[in-house]
């Protein structure tokens, strides 16, 4: 009974904002003289209700799942790794460079090497802020934010300089070798990378909910002093979590490189970027792996849907971004108050006690 109530409440809490956002968006669409129903029909049908479209949506959700997890493992511990975007770019870039320049002849080992390189790059980025935080309590949010810009600029410099594909008429690194490209499955864009992300998601679920590290992560997030006093060695854990986050981000970048982009361009992660999207996804999913999965797919559906709107209607596709922003604003608020839930639980427990 209690369980059911909670589930209904959760569902309502996510559906109401989405509906409200669509209604507001619909008013805007009406205002510019278009039909909101056909627009929404196209938005949703193409990205979720056709088989190929759905698989494409999953493909675009894949890096988001990983960056979302990368955010979750630090944010949950109250450590703010805002550098996921930069770590992802760094991972993607060097996976791409390795994929293009190293003689990687076997698909599996080749990919593995690229992933390892990318994970190391992400960790390398995460290390300075982690050490500074653990040693001298330097605010990690500021450091990662700054390093993000520094990394983006550096990669731009490298892409336009040493690693530039001289034969291309535009700025890009050389295309990675065929062997390490993830192969498409069927006619959709989905690749084995999605499966890989699911496995990582599962492992992270176990890690976050059933492991010692997960327990410590939670404790640090809720009360760092308590965590330190009960021997969790907070400084060390911060470093571990930051490195884990960096590795996940790096892997996200490498996978995106090997399954979709195949070369590093200055728009490798688009605007606002897979890392930033991941941050929103993680926050919307309250840093829980399952919810992150759902949020990523929803987010990717809006992305592919905006392409459909662009292609099949004359509504500016920017409308999708507006709807997306409205959804985010509304999702930030729990319309049906958690409080009542807690009181109910309290009541329940009192009754049991008597």
């Amino acid at each position: 009974m209690k369980q059911k109530e909670m589930i209904v409440k959760n569902i309502l809490n996510s559906l109401v904002p989405i509906l409200a956002a669509f209604i507001l968006g619909g008013i805007i669409i009406l205002a510019i003289g278009e039909n909101p129903f056909t627009t929404y029909g196209i938005l949703i049908r193409k990205s979720l209700f056709t088989w190929k479209g759905f698989l494409n949506t999953l493909h675009y959700a894949t890096p988001l799942i990983l960056t979302g997890l990368a955010i979750a493992v630090t944010f949950k511990a109250n450590v703010y790794n805002m550098g996921v975007e930069g770590q992802m770019l760094l991972g993607g870039f060097f996976a791409g460079v390795a994929g293009a320049y190293l003689p990687l002849s076997t698909p599996l080992v080749g990919k593995l090497i690229c992933f390892v390189i990318a994970a190391l790059c992400g960790m390398l980025f995460a290390l300075p802020p982690a050490l500074l935080k653990a040693r001298y309590q330097v605010n990690e949010m500021v450091v990662t934010l700054m390093l993000n810009y520094a990394v983006a600029k550096t990669l731009e410099f490298l892409t336009t300089g040493v690693f530039r594909d001289k034969s291309a008429g535009y700025v890009a690194t050389p295309v990675i070798s065929d062997t390490i490209m993830f192969q498409r499955i069927g006619s959709s864009r989905i690749t084995a990378f999605f499966g890989m992300a699911l496995i990582i998601l599962f492992l992270m679920y176990i890690l976050m909910n059933h492991s010692k590290l997960g327990f410590e992560m939670k404790a640090i997030g809720k009360n760092a002093e308590f965590a330190e006093a009960t021997g969790m060695n907070v400084g060390k854990k911060i470093i571990i979590l930051m490195l884990l986050s960096g590795a996940l981000s790096g892997i996200a970048g490498a996978g995106w490189m090997m399954s979709d982009q195949f070369k590093y361009t200055l728009s490798f992660s688009e605007n606002p970027g897979l890392g930033w999207d991941g941050m929103l996804i993680s926050l919307l999913g309250s840093h829980s792996p399952i919810e992150i999965l759902i949020a990523s797919i929803f987010y990717a559906a809006l992305k592919t849907g905006s392409d459909s709107i662009n292609m099949y209607t004359s509504v500016p596709k920017e409308i999708v971004e507006i709807i997306q922003a409205i959804i985010i604003l509304f999702l930030a608020v729990k319309f049906i108050k958690e409080k009542t839930g807690r009181k109910n639980r309290w009541k329940q427990s009192r009754k049991e006690a008597e």
């Binding site: 059933h210 308590f226 427990s349």
Partner: protein, 513 residues
């Protein structure tokens, strides 16, 4: 004498749990009323209603014969009611005078024009006068974060006095005070009463009740179970009313002379500095023998807190060593200390001992969450965790509503029992217990004291740090007293008077005869 505060059938429900049930409280003008009761009895709830922080579900509040409804603390203050909360509501980064005048700032004036700027000088003067008028010891320009707990409490009281209240409510004012500060407070309150104030005090300490009160109200499970005059009652009777059975008010250590038992634990010349580089713990050396309780006493702010952090791995030393059974454990981390066999009951229950927002079972394993019985291949075994929790609940008589709930829902005493259960059941050889009974009701105190003694008698050793001198004197075999970061003396409790200890705590070494 007139009635000052009266409640008629005052009831407060949280959901369908009744925290206060038809309370008929009666406080006379210019009396000190003490309210006692177990943890969770509903004392704070009642007071919060009188101060406008909670709205009653039912019933009336009558102040000076007039029925009032109070929607916020502002209404209460307007009705002349002030409250000093157990957890101070001060702003640490502001100064004493800023805190006192918060909300009633004095503005700069230019002629008859009032500027938007705060007139700091006028404020300081005003607060200085206030401090003088009431004979308090405070420096108005000190920052609150830099002053002692006792001083903070005086700031809270002044804050209310400045607002001209004549009914003053204090919720567990002595829980965090040193004995000296308690005496000072009692003195202050009595003086305030002479000045015509009416005072309501909640406390768990019956000694204070007997010293302070004119009349006493006992609350149990949300209802009044006793209303007596001080002159007509005794500590024992009060305890009996509160708990519903006879309570041993002073659990005594039966000090068996166990000469020359093994040294389990030793520190030599432990020294550390605070973040400004000032030495706060200097050359602390002591030995702890098997079967011994070593008390550490001292006025708060004399380095005990830092010493405890040093001993429990929350702080690093700049000099000196610690040994556990001959093994050097200097600067080990808390997890290493626990593994080596040191149990830790930390000073601040909700800051270091427990995590309010985590479940009871999670709190039951914290600190031992890597041990094999509950953690295999880095993964936690939920079933074993639950079993452990249920065992604790049983063995340590932890009373709670929902075993799957959060620790934050437990009352103070029961929360403390979770820590005791966790630390003792790991079978350590040394227990470092800091303020183990702070804010805990007498029933639980009895339980905790017995548990500590039992642990010692099983051949282990305890370091007991407490600002409650009576606790130290009754439990310890040997006591060291700290003053300004150093050991100012070592005594045997059964051979020493409380006065002598007080002198040591003030840094005065009595000349040996």
């Amino acid at each position: 004498m007139n009635s000052m505060v009266q409640t008629i059938n005052l009831t407060k429900k949280f959901g369908d749990f009744t925290a206060n049930n038809k309370i008929n409280l009666h406080v006379k003008e210019q009396e000190i009323k003490c309210i006692v009761g177990e943890n969770g009895a509903g004392k704070s709830t009642l007071m919060n209603m009188l101060y406008g922080l909670l709205q009653p579900t039912d019933g009336k509040i009558i102040i000076r014969g007039r029925e009032v409804t109070m929607k916020s603390p502002l209404d209460a203050i307007a009705n002349g009611i002030g409250m000093v909360h157990q957890h101070f509501k001060l702003v640490p980064s502001l100064t004493v005078y800023e805190n006192i005048l918060l909300g009633l700032e004095i503005k700069k004036k230019k002629g008859s024009l009032s500027l938007p700027l705060i007139d700091k000088e006028a404020e300081i003067k005003c607060v200085e006068k206030l401090i003088r008028d009431h004979g308090f010891e405070l420096n108005p320009t000190d920052k609150v974060e830099d002053i002692s707990v006792g001083a903070r409490q005086r700031v809270e009281i002044l804050k209310m006095l400045y607002r001209n209240v004549n009914i003053l409510i204090l919720d567990e004012p002595t829980a965090v005070l040193t004995p000296q500060e308690v005496d000072q407070l009692i003195h202050t309150l009595k003086k305030l009463k002479e000045q015509g104030k009416t005072i309501i005090v909640i406390t768990h300490k019956l000694r204070e009740v007997m010293e302070l009160a004119d009349s006493i109200t006992v609350i149990k499970q949300g209802s009044i179970v006793g209303d007596v005059l001080k002159a007509e009652t005794s500590e024992r009777q009060l305890a009996q009313m509160m708990v519903g059975r006879d309570v041993v008010l002073r659990v005594e250590n039966l000090r068996k002379k166990s000469a020359d038992t093994k040294v389990l634990y030793e520190t030599r010349e432990l020294t550390t500095v605070n973040e400004t580089g000032k030495e706060v713990v200097s050359d602390i050396s002591f030995k702890l023998h098997q079967g011994e309780i070593l008390g550490i006493a001292g006025v708060e702010g004399n380095g005990q807190s830092e010493l405890v952090k040093l001993l429990t791995g929350l702080m690093c030393s700049t000099k000196g060593n610690t040994w556990l059974m001959g093994k050097d454990i200097t600067n080990w981390w808390p997890n290493q200390l626990r593994e080596a066999g040191i149990g830790i009951i930390p000073e601040d229950r909700y800051a270091q001992g427990l995590c309010k927002e985590m479940s009871i079972s999670e709190n039951c394993i914290a600190g031992y969450h890597g041990q094999e019985d509950i953690c295999r291949y880095g993964l936690h075994r939920t079933k074993k965790m639950k079993e452990k929790r249920d065992r604790f609940i049983q063995e340590f008589d932890i009373r709670l509503g929902d075993p799957n709930g959060m620790v934050g829902n437990l009352s103070g005493g029961n929360a403390q029992k979770v820590i005791i259960a966790r630390e003792l059941s790991a079978a350590p050889q040394i227990l470092i217990a800091c303020q183990p009974t702070r804010g805990v009701d007498i029933g639980s105190i009895e339980f905790i004291h017995k548990a500590i003694l039992k642990f010692k008698e099983a051949g282990n050793a305890v370091i007991l740090v407490s600002s409650e001198l009576s606790e130290i004197m009754s439990l310890s075999d040997r006591v060291i007293v700290m003053y300004k970061g150093r050991i100012s003396g070592e005594i045997l409790p059964e051979k020493t008077s409380v006065e002598e200890v007080g002198l040591l705590m003030a840094g005065i070494t009595p000349t040996e005869e």
